[in-house]
């Protein structure tokens, strides 16, 4: 099974080419494509002026017509045994090959003070870093399903957890490590650790947790679009290069052809 995470132009294009080569392929999406934010698209081949969200839905429809399963879920971790286990909010999925088409990396804005304290109290991964905050004061930031999952995990580590939203926070404050959060209502909350989850898991965070190498331009790939992990590929806005639909579609096709020619 080949699993594509992401149903934007890159993921859909990749799925189309794989399916036409008779590969067993599925697509998982949490419907957070950049396209859904674009009012109109006016520079893509053959569509004329089209609403971004409409083009996104057309893409999904076109692969569903080829009987490619499109699963609504959010992948929050990738683990490895003999094959990959994609851990979703709703389900886990096994896969031999994974294509990451998650869209742009570093797409979120830092909370004031956040960047300064990364690794000094700020964490993006409860399973990686929860250990360091046993019985300490913890804040979980974000109120989506992903934040709920991280909270459930951290509950086993400390009973002293507060839940906040990104919007509640004015600034994260500390010395050589985080000491408290200054809220918009001008009160302070003392904390030792802050786990940032946002509304949905950020592409960068999924890569970080899963051990996929990134830099400021995106996921690091080799000449075959493969990441630092064998059999995990990447394409579209997630990798360095022009952030446009045509390029994402091209990337998706290239990755499909590489996978097809390798097996």
């Amino acid at each position: 099974m080949i699993t594509i995470i992401g149903a934007g132009p890159a993921g859909i294009s990749c799925a189309l080419y794989l399916k036409r080569a008779n590969k067993n392929v599925q697509v998982i999406t949490n419907d957070k494509s950049a396209l859904c934010k674009a009012k109109y698209i006016e520079n893509y081949y053959g569509t004329g002026k089209i609403i971004g969200k409409e083009l996104y839905n057309n893409g999904i429809k076109s692969i569903q017509e080829l009987d490619i399963p499109v699963i609504k879920d959010e992948i929050i971790n990738i683990q490895y045994n003999d094959s990959f286990i994609l851990e979703g909010i709703n389900n886990n999925y096994n896969s031999d090959i994974v294509v990451l088409a998650l869209g742009k990396i570093n797409n979120r804005t830092y909370i004031k003070g956040e960047e300064k304290f990364i690794g000094k109290g700020i964490s993006y991964c409860a399973t990686c870093d929860g250990f360091f905050f046993k019985d300490k004061k913890i804040a979980v930031i974000g109120n989506g399903e992903y934040a709920n999952k991280e909270y459930e995990y951290l509950k086993n580590i400390s009973s002293n957890i507060i839940r906040l939203n990104n919007d509640d926070i004015n600034e994260i404050i500390g010395t050589d490590k985080v000491t408290h959060i200054n809220l918009k209502n001008n009160t302070n909350v003392e904390v030792d650790g802050i786990f940032i989850c946002d509304d949905t898991i950020d592409a960068n965070v999924l890569c970080l947790k899963s051990g996929i190498l990134t830099n400021k331009d995106g996921v690091v790939i080799d000449e075959n679009y493969q990441t630092n992990i064998d059999n995990i590929y990447s394409c579209g806005d997630l990798i360095p290069g022009i952030k446009q639909i045509s390029k994402a579609v091209n990337d998706g096709m290239l990755v499909a052809n590489i996978i097809i020619s390798r097996r």
Binding site: I118, S123, T127, C128, D129, F133, G211, L213
Partner: protein, 98 residues
């Protein structure tokens, strides 16, 4: 050079040489990805890698302010020279030990 299993008893002695210390744990996914990169470094470069399992030596992790893993620290003459939190490339590590 070599991969050495460090602990709180031999740590101070080990970091008197120029070494890369890898703070890791078995349950940490990105640590597993960094490990083969460090193995390569130990083959290609003239430097030892000291592995600290934070499960076994939480005191050491605390002493060096580790709150996120993987973290690697380059030590020389007992002093912290360079630090990286999270997964990084072989080239990043080579730059850290220059």
């Amino acid at each position: 050079m070599a991969i050495i299993n460090g602990n709180k008893n031999n740590f101070k002695e080990l970091i008197n040489n120029k070494v890369i210390v890898d703070f890791y744990a078995d349950w940490c996914g990105p640590c597993k990805m960094l490990s083969p990169v460090l193995d390569k470094i130990s083959e290609e470069e003239n430097i030892d890698i000291v592995k600290i399992n934070v499960d076994n030596d939480p005191e050491l992790a605390k002493e060096y302010g580790i709150m996120s893993i993987p973290t690697i620290i380059v030590f020389e003459n007992g002093e912290e020279k360079n630090k990286n939190i999270g997964l990084c490339s072989k080239q990043d590590i080579k730059d850290m030990i220059k």
